[in-house]
Symmetry: C2
Subunit: 453 residues, 2 copies
């Protein structure tokens, strides 16, 4: 049975314990982000001093609030949390996000145990403690920081606030957005498996991204992930692959990771895609979170730069892609249409004097060839009009087009912005572009599935 | 004997054959870049139409020019090049850069042979044909594109114009600059070995970056590199590691690369550092081209973000770095000075509420520990004043500090700019930062040396 997490994601009202008028304080940032993020429910700042906070009447305690409170945020010193949790219980609060640190991670196991016991008694679900909150763009609820508001399809579940937030920041910068971000903290109750289950059901979410240092419950993790990966791809970056990294992980989140090979095996069994670096994690999330349709491993690279095409080819081949082999007919048609100094192979090198139009001509001919599943266009020079050509081709050919733009100075900057505004992913090196092709090909429905039981 | 290449890098006068007033034409861009780049010698645009080009008197042929001409640029159709080369010979030109394509790479071997024969007869040195020219910031000579003017210590030698230019563009964007960029083209005469030798002697150059698809002369390459790597690090990215990549390389630059393992062996023998991706190539160039002193493999990571510290640790350890083990005394001193919720290990986790000052306090204490060779600071939150703290520490401690700034939104942007203006490298993910540490440690004098003969 999946946990009901609706109080965290669809609360009708929120109490913010520790809300503050003082800039720089977490209780200020967080309350401000909830308001500026556009949350539509009721908000009740709570602070013993009372008065008004950011223009809202402040309550001296939870019990003073007249209406109902679905969700409570705790941004008060650890020692005050248990008492406040009792009040929350009396008030009928259903979910609590405890931002405050100072529990198990700081050696205060007893305080953490006390808190958990109270929450259980009152049937309050907990996220945290020692976490960076929740951002759920589906409810315009940014109970976290930084303020990220662009809606997208990437769901982030992270044992590190910074790493989770960094995925969200990049997604906002490149205009692909997120569906949600949950910072796990010490995860005394709600864990990564519960959240995977939630985001599997969330309509906006297309891809689930995990940063973990260890799993809360191995059996539950594998079983949940097996179900979830049948619906949506799950990507994971794990901190603590090495012994020293793991030692640090144990200090950081008290995660007992066990041997890395065990985790590797669990991912394979559960159909989870494991990535080795943050940039790869983000790249895969961006591609699988885009509107590009997945699948197709036979790649045709069309490039203005010979060297760039070769770098892409190496990475694509090293990662199991097939380089499409065009038929003689297609090659003849290309030779008839394009300048004779082009290099007619795969990569198809249009050479440095090409304009965007030549990419279009080449793609229209090559798209007829059943050998070609997927295009990669490398604009390796300042080629204006690249965006318009790619946008126009979408209507005319059935294959997807991955776009790499580099070495283009001012023109690159302008074209990249146009692509991002239209939510078409742009890759910034030939190698990144090849990895994006791998992600798209790997994403064929079926491949993410866990092993059959 | 090293070739005398001074006519390419320190010409007193340049003739530009094919200079043009028409925007978008290579003969326009290139002449404009020479002028706007600040070249101080004489320039003679040559165009059969005469008149003036970009405000300079244009000559209808080389023979019309009254003064001496050291260097000639050819941006005219391939078929006119041999005749013009004869005129250049009669005029006493010493070096020629042939931008024009349409020779061997387009199947016109005979035309290329003819050109080479004429150049030999007149003792003219050739760069190209089919290349993107030369940029040498030491003479403010940008006979290439794009226009890159920031002086630095990275020398680029490339068989791909786009890939070479991309290193230069990134170096300019991040304000680290280049010493030079030479695009090899079909390299009928001057090759990568000659240029390595030149940049080994060039005072400004600290690191030499190669993009190759094959070497012109294996024996010469190994012997030259062995000498050069005793003086300066040489980094190489090779296109065509895979069979299909190599096939493409053969079409692109007619390079016969041979087995990848042979190239790998040659690099090892010659002391060349081989990198696998463009981003790694640039990262290493940026670090070894900076003013940071090399060496020291015992790393202490100080971070505001636990997870980020762990990601760095994994990559550092996986690449042979040692994590510094601080003495009990150092740890005690740190515990006395810092908040008790910090995590006292390596990584030293100052936690998310840290300010820049806490980094300074921690580093001043840890710097006393002889176990610590090198610092990595990870600012994983919006921490203002990071730059001032790092800048100030330079005077107070002997170890170098690598800086990673991420997850910091607006504040990150501002701080990063300050670092870049001061020419302090900033790394943008924890993994990139760890790789930078590896580059710096690997760069110890001695390690780049080729094998003894």
């Amino acid at each position: 049975m999946a946990l009901d997490l609706s109080s965290f994601f669809y609360p009708e009202s929120i109490a913010i314990l520790g809300a503050s008028n003082k800039e720089g304080k977490t209780g200020h940032t967080l309350f401000k982000n909830i308001i500026e993020g556009g949350y539509q429910g009721e908000v009740f700042p709570v602070n013993p001093r009372g008065g008004t906070i950011l223009g809202h009447k402040a309550y001296q305690s939870l019990s003073e609030i007249e209406g109902e409170v679905d969700l409570a945020l705790f941004i008060i010193p650890a020692k005050f949390v248990p008492q406040a949790m009792k009040e929350a219980g009396e008030k009928g609060v259903k979910g609590a996000i405890i931002i405050s640190g100072g529990f198990r991670e700081a050696g205060n196991q007893a305080l953490e145990d006390e808190l958990v016991e109270i929450a259980r008694e009152y049937d309050i679900r907990l996220v945290g403690p020692n976490c960076q909150g929740i951002n759920f763009t589906g409810s315009k609820l940014c109970a976290s920081w930084p303020l990220i508001t662009s809606q997208g399809s990437i769901a982030i579940i992270s044992q590190s606030g910074t790493i989770g937030a960094s995925v969200a920041i990049k997604a906002e910068e490149e205009n692909c957005g997120i569906s949600g971000f949950v910072s796990l903290g010490n995860r005394v109750d709600v864990d990564e498996s519960d959240l995977m289950e939630f985001f599997a059901m969330d309509e906006k979410t297309q891809v689930i991204v995990l940063y973990l240092e260890g799993v809360a419950n191995g059996q539950k993790f594998i079983e949940t992930a097996k179900r979830v990966t049948r619906e949506k791809p799950v990507l994971v970056l794990k901190g603590g692959r090495t012994e020293l990294g793991q030692l640090a992980a144990e200090s950081h989140t008290k995660s007992m990771a066990g041997k890395d090979a065990v985790f590797e095996g669990a991912c394979r069994q559960a159909g989870i895609t494991r990535l080795r670096e943050f940039n790869d994690l983000y790249l895969w999330a961006k591609i699988l979170g885009s509107s590009m349709k997945r699948g197709g491993s036979k790649l045709l690279i069309i490039t203005s730069s010979g060297g760039s095409g070769i770098l892409s080819t190496d990475i694509a081949v090293e990662n199991g892609m097939t380089m499409a082999k065009m038929s003689e007919e297609t090659l003849e048609a290309l030779k008839e249409r394009l300048p004779d100094y082009c290099i007619f192979g795969n990569p198809l090198d249009l050479t440095g004097d090409t304009d965007a139009k030549r990419f279009e001509e080449a793609a229209l001919l090559a798209a007829e060839d059943p050998e070609v599943d997927l295009f990669l266009f490398i604009f390796g020079d300042p080629i204006p009009g690249a965006f318009e050509v790619v946008e126009g081709l979408k209507e005319k050919i059935s294959q997807e087009i991955l776009v790499c733009y580099w070495g283009g100075g001012e023109v690159e900057y302008e074209e990249t912005l146009k692509f991002q505004r239209a939510n078409i992913p742009v890759l910034s090196t030939p190698e990144e572009a090849a990895k994006a092709a791998v992600a798209l090909a790997h994403g064929e429905r079926g491949e993410f599935h866990g092993e059959e039981e």
